[in-house]
Symmetry: C2
Subunit: 206 residues, 2 copies
């Protein structure tokens, strides 16, 4: 089964013909998403873009849904990469909030289209939902930590830091989701709004 990291001997396993094709298909998918959207979009389209037959495409992905999962997994991996690279900032809560929002905004600037499509398809494709809630949980933890550091109540329950962080997370998700579909400028404004709201919720209102 191609796609899964082939237990790479040494560093970076030889990119076999199949690996290339796979990337090719995924790149094609990413382009097609911008043109037709996911729903209108057939395996045939994917095959055509990759220059292979429809049947061959099934050798790599058994459905367009599975291809989307692979594409999104690749994107999520990129997200975590950046997140890891910028880890550990014991700054003041106000700063932590500002940078967290700014970074999230940057991710939406880069990967807005794929993220939007993945979110759209999440209700229909469990793997996507799992991938997304997983990264959301990481974000929720980060928010909760900042909230507590700012003096928030750490206990459980509907008004505890964890529950409030979850609500904030989904607020940010939806706000960015909508804004990124409008324009880059809208995204910047949405970012500022989220920062302000988060500050107020943390009890750090100006």
């Amino acid at each position: 089964m191609p796609g899964q990291a082939r237990a790479g001997r040494r560093r970076s396993a030889a990119p076999s013909k199949g690996d290339l094709r796979e990337r090719q298909i995924l790149d094609g998918l990413a382009e097609l998403l911008a043109v037709k959207g996911f729903d209108a979009l057939t395996i045939g389209d994917l095959a055509e873009r990759a220059g292979i037959s429809r049947a061959s495409t099934y050798f790599y992905f058994s459905s367009k849904q599975e291809a989307l999962v692979a594409l999104f997994a690749r994107t999520v991996e990129a997200l975590r990469e950046k997140s890891r690279a910028a880890a550990g900032d014991p700054a003041a809560p106000e700063e932590a909030i500002a940078t967290a929002v700014r970074r999230t905004r940057d991710r939406w600037h880069e990967h807005g289209l794929v993220m939007r499509v993945a979110i759209d398809q999440s209700p229909a494709i469990p793997e996507l939902a799992a991938l997304w809630t997983e990264t959301a949980d990481i974000f929720i933890d980060a928010i909760a930590t900042i909230l507590v550091r700012a003096g928030g109540e750490a206990h459980d329950g509907p008004d505890g830091a964890r529950a409030v962080a979850r609500a904030l997370c989904w607020m940010i998700e939806r706000t960015f989701y909508h804004a990124s579909a409008v324009s880059p400028e809208a995204l910047d404004e949405a970012s500022e709004t989220c920062r302000v709201v988060w500050l107020r919720v943390a009890g750090l209102a100006g």
Copy 2:
């Protein structure tokens, strides 16, 4: 074309055979949603439930998407009905927030399934998206009004009442969306969380 209110002479136009069938199909759709979900679900299923042939179903709705739009429109109408019945409460901001959240929670208790499905399909069905953003805008106005009454800045821009209200609206939508898919109890807790966050954003923290 059935479905649209037939310019009813006198009160309540005669419920013709077609009107009944239409309701029958929509009721069947609502039941099917709970069983198979919208994606798996064919015109044939709808027909079977209504006891008519597949071809006949097309007489009423030219696609399952259109049927869903009709079902959701019916639901939204019920939502506005309640909203209208409870209009005009010049209470203190804290009370206004509490009742607004409570009412919204009740709507999700009643119509959670249909609302969730409609939201899921919104990216794919423009009419649903329009219906939903339309009711969201009404809610956003209400939130903004309360925010201003509580001392919020009325100006435009990313930190103005309108932008903040929009963010709060989507927070509430997503939070209730997720919670209503879990359990009625989760919905109640989500409701409390939203109330607390809204209060803090309005500068009315306990």
